[in-house]
Symmetry: C2
Subunit: 210 residues, 2 copies
């Protein structure tokens, strides 16, 4: 029958070697490179080398939060699914997404806003400080609004909404308005898988893989 | 404050118009185009125009299965998360993923295979005929093996594993060995988000969006 590698970690290790060989010149630090490589790994798209933005000091800030057992909020269930549960558990961290929450759906309908926006409001009420956006520009805008109003105090944000209407703009605004540790995917690309990959890369810096 | 569109369906409709305007010349049928556009929508990557492969007759086959309330198997929880639950419900379809299943994890460990492979075995035992692969080349290979051995009879397959070790090869093999309705992403690109997008595009052909 067909011959193929059957060990996941072996596949992943070899993948990262190939990515390193093919990505060419860069100015990333060793830790930044781990994030960039993982976004390429999850998409098969070397363009991520050019569009991942990591504000100085953001990796250290994220690592501190993760070590402290932070609660993470994601804008989609897909991003939540993509975050490694074993690593989360080892770090005593947790991840929440409220877009399917009935109360949030009701509030969104009543107020004519997206469930993504209502979800962020609830997360802020819950005291979340670590936000991961892989899909919804509206969620990222809502966090900016709440921050500007002094209602939210995010300590780390992954801004990776994907798309053609508002996504690129939302990330550009976030870089300007959120003067906090932040990782973004510039332009139209991004996605829940990319957002989760960034969180996983950060977790694997502070916890052993299984 | 910032002005931005807050209606998800309006954002999606406008996105599809923009994608259509920017993607340029193509030879896709109207239904094929819906799949291709949705993969671009979920990734922000126009390269999908060149790498989506849809075997003739595959869309009709998938639509028939969906109308019949089929059980879908996905190789990742992320792909499962990305499939629209409201549309699934309207179609009386369901989606399963066994990689986090304890029994499957035990079998995988005992036999030294991936949980993805053991998950496919269990899905085949359960009589699943509609398979969606967004991550694991090993799972796609396992389905090919079981099919060659006469143990599995898949009726529709989405082959979209992403990556640098075995992913492209697994999809090339699948196109050759699985002479059934199939949609693949050629080359290294793909992913759970892309796999889910393909299923959603197919569902939206037979059921109204909310």
């Amino acid at each position: 029958m067909m011959e193929y590698i059957k060990k996941p970690m072996e596949i992943e290790d070899r993948s990262f070697v190939i990515i390193g060989e093919e990505m060419g010149e860069h100015n990333f630090t060793e830790e930044e490179l781990k994030i960039v490589k993982r976004t390429i790994h999850t998409t098969g798209d070397f363009d991520y080398k050019n569009i991942v933005y990591i504000r100085e000091g953001s990796i250290d800030a994220a690592k501190e939060l993760l070590k402290g057992g932070v609660k993470i909020y994601t804008d989609t269930n897909m991003a939540k699914s993509g975050i490694n549960k074993m690593a989360l558990k080892k770090l005593n961290c947790s991840v929440e997404c409220y877009v399917s929450n009935e109360e949030v759906a009701k509030i969104a309908k009543e107020r004519g806003i997206t469930r993504s926006m209502a979800g962020v409001e609830k997360a802020v009420e819950d005291g979340v400080e670590f936000f991961v956006f892989g899909n919804a520009p509206t969620a990222l805008y809502k966090l900016m609004e709440l921050t500007a109003e002094g209602k939210a105090s995010p300590k780390f944000v992954v801004g990776a909404p994907v798309g053609f209407v508002g996504a690129a703009e939302s990330k550009e605004e976030a870089e300007k308005r959120l003067q906090i540790p932040i990782v973004t995917i510039r332009g139209r690309k991004g996605g829940s898988n990319v957002a989760a990959a960034i969180v996983n890369a950060l977790m694997y810096m502070v916890v052993d893989r299984e």
